[in-house]
C-alpha cells in the first residue's frame, strides 16, 4: 500500500477541469438561492398572512427533505408529468446542469430565507419604532434602516450556507455530471486508486471551502461598523 504521487499528478489536470464545473454550479446556485431566499425572507417578515404561510411551508418542505430527493424529483420526476413534457421549457429542464442549479438554488433559498428572517428578528424593535416615528413606512424602514444592519448580522450564517453549497454540488455527480466528485469517481473506477484520487479531490474541496470562508471573513471585516465592535467579537464594554 503506497501512495502513488505520479497518479495524482497525472490526474490533477482532469480533476481541476472538473473543478471548473463545480465552481460554475456553486456560482449559479448561489445566485438563484440568494435572490429567491432574500425574496422569501422578506415575505416571511413583511408578507401578508397567506404569502407568509406559503413561504413558511416552502422553507419546511425544502429543509425537511434530503437534497438528493429534491434533485431526483426535478431531474427524473418532472419528465413523468405530461404538462411539463409539453411545455416550452422542457428542452431546458432536461439538462442536468439546469436541474442541478434548480435543486441547489431552491434548496439554498429555504435556508437563506431563514437566515434573513433570523437576522431581521435580531434587530431591536426600537429601530422599527424610531423609523416609524420619523415618518418612514414599513418598506422604506426595511430598506434603509433594517436591511443594512440585518445584512451584517446574516453574513456569518450565510458564509456557512455558501460552504454547504460547495459541498452540495457533489450531488450533481449522481445525475451524471462531471463535477469534481463525478470526475473523481470515474477516475477511481478506471485506476482503482481511491486513496490518491479521493484525497486529492477532498483537498481541492477544502481549498474551495477555505477560500469562501476567508472571503466572508474579509467581507465581514470590511462591512463592520466601527462602533459595533469587532465582527464576531464581544461588544465594546463601557468602562
Amino acid at each position: 500500500m503506497t501512495f502513488d504521487w505520479a497518479l495524482v499528478l497525472d490526474n490533477l489536470p482532469n480533476l481541476l477541469r472538473a473543478t471548473v464545473l463545480t465552481v460554475e454550479l456553486v456560482v449559479a446556485s448561489i445566485a438563484l438561492g440568494l435572490a429567491m431566499g432574500c425574496g422569501l425572507g422578506v415575505v416571511l417578515i413583511l408578507g401578508k398572512p397567506l404569502p407568509r404561510r406559503l413561504a413558511r411551508l416552502y422553507s419546511l418542505l425544502f429543509r425537511g427533505t434530503p437534497l438528493l430527493v429534491q434533485l431526483f424529483l426535478i431531474y427524473y420526476g418532472l419528465g413523468q408529468l405530461q404538462f411539463v413534457r409539453d411545455s416550452v421549457l422542457w428542452p431546458v429542464l432536461r439538462q442536468p446542469f439546469v436541474c442541478a442549479v434548480l435543486a441547489l438554488g431552491m434548496n439554498s433559498a429555504a435556508y437563506t430565507s431563514e437566515i434573513v428572517r433570523g437576522a431581521v428578528k435580531a434587530i431591536p424593535a426600537g429601530q422599527w419604532e424610531a423609523a416609524k416615528s420619523l415618518g418612514l413606512n414599513r418598506l422604506l424602514t426595511f430598506r434603509k434602516v433594517i436591511a443594512p444592519q440585518a445584512m451584517r448580522i446574516a453574513l456569518p450564517s450565510y458564509g456557512n450556507e455558501a460552504v454547504m453549497m460547495v459541498k452540495s454540488t457533489a450531488l450533481a455527480s449522481t445525475i451524471s455530471m462531471f463535477d469534481l466528485t463525478g470526475a473523481a469517481r470515474t477516475i477511481v473506477a478506471d485506476t482503482y486508486a481511491p486513496y490518491e484520487i479521493f484525497l486529492t479531490s477532498g483537498l481541492i474541496y477544502l481549498v474551495l471551502t477555505g477560500l469562501i470562508q476567508a472571503g466572508f471573513t474579509a467581507l465581514e471585516r470590511r462591512l463592520a461598523i466601527a462602533s459595533a465592535g469587532k465582527p464576531g467579537g464581544k461588544p465594546v464594554k463601557a468602562s
Binding site: 500500500m1 429543509r63 427533505t65 420526476g77 459541498k167 449522481t174 477511481v188 484525497l199 477532498g202
Partner: protein, 221 residues
C-alpha cells in the same frame, strides 16, 4: 397508484433501513463528538490541533465524497492493517461514514456548549472547593446539555437527511428502493414524491420543535 401498492413493501423495507442507518450512526457520532470536544477543550496544543483538523476536514469535504472514500478505502485499509481480508456491507460503510461526519458536527456543538458557560461558574465551583471531576459532573455538564440540545437536534436532522446519500454506495435504503421502483415502473415522480413525504413525516416534527425552542429562547431574552 397500483405501482405504489406493488412496490409498497419494498419502499417500507427501505424506510426501515433508513431508520436503522440513522439510529446506528448516532452512538458513533456521539462518541466521536465527545472525543473531538474534549480534545478541543484540552490544554494540549497538539491535541487541539488534531481535533480542529478532524472537524475542518469532515465539515469541509462533501458528504458524498466522504462516503465514496470510505466505500473504496476502508475495507482495503483494514484488510491491510489486520493482514486478512475484511469485508464490509454497504450498510456498515455508510454507518461509519455518516457517524464520522455527524461526529464532527456533534463535537463542535458540544465544544460550543461548554465554552458558552461563563468562566465565573468554573471559578465559583473551584472557590467552593469542588474537585474538577465534580465541577464537570455537577456544574458544567447539566448546563451544557441544556445548551447543546437544540443544535444537536439539528445534527440529527442533517444526519437523517444524509442517510439518503448511502443510496449512492448501494445501501438498500429508502432512496435506493425508490430509485429501483422508479426505474422499473417509469414513475419517478410518484416514488420520489412518496420518499419526500416519508422524510417529511420524520423531519417536520423536529423542525417544528426547533422553532418552538427558538421562540422560547427569544421570549426569554
Amino acid at each position: 397508484m397500483n405501482n405504489l401498492i406493488d412496490y409498497g413493501p419494498q419502499v417500507l423495507q427501505g424506510l426501515l433501513t433508513t431508520a436503522a442507518l440513522a439510529l446506528a450512526s448516532v452512538p458513533g457520532a456521539f462518541a466521536i463528538g465527545l472525543c473531538v470536544a474534549l480534545l478541543q477543550l484540552s490544554g494540549s496544543d497538539m491535541l487541539r490541533r488534531i481535533a480542529k483538523a478532524y472537524v475542518g476536514i469532515f465539515r469541509g469535504v462533501p458528504e458524498l465524497l466522504i462516503l465514496f472514500f470510505f466505500y473504496y478505502g476502508v475495507p482495503g485499509t483494514l484488510s491491510y492493517l489486520l493482514g486478512s481480508q475484511v469485508e464490509f456491507s454497504n450498510f456498515w460503510i455508510a454507518v461509519l461514514a455518516l457517524g464520522a461526519i455527524a461526529g464532527a458536527y456533534t463535537g463542535e456543538v458540544l465544544r460550543a456548549a461548554v465554552q458558552a458557560i461563563p468562566v465565573g461558574q468554573w471559578e465559583a465551583a473551584a472557590a467552593l472547593g469542588l474537585r474538577p471531576a465534580l465541577i464537570w459532573l455537577k456544574i458544567i455538564v447539566p448546563q451544557a446539555i441544556r445548551l447543546a440540545t437544540p443544535p444537536l437536534g439539528n445534527v440529527l436532522l442533517v444526519l437523517i437527511k444524509d442517510t439518503a446519500l448511502a443510496s449512492a454506495i448501494g445501501a438498500e435504503e429508502l432512496m435506493r428502493k425508490s430509485s429501483i421502483a422508479s426505474g422499473s415502473t417509469r414513475s419517478p415522480f410518484l416514488f420520489f414524491g412518496t420518499a419526500a413525504l416519508i422524510y417529511l413525516a420524520v423531519t417536520i416534527p423536529i423542525l417544528l420543535w426547533q422553532e418552538r425552542v427558538e421562540a422560547r429562547q427569544a421570549a426569554a431574552t
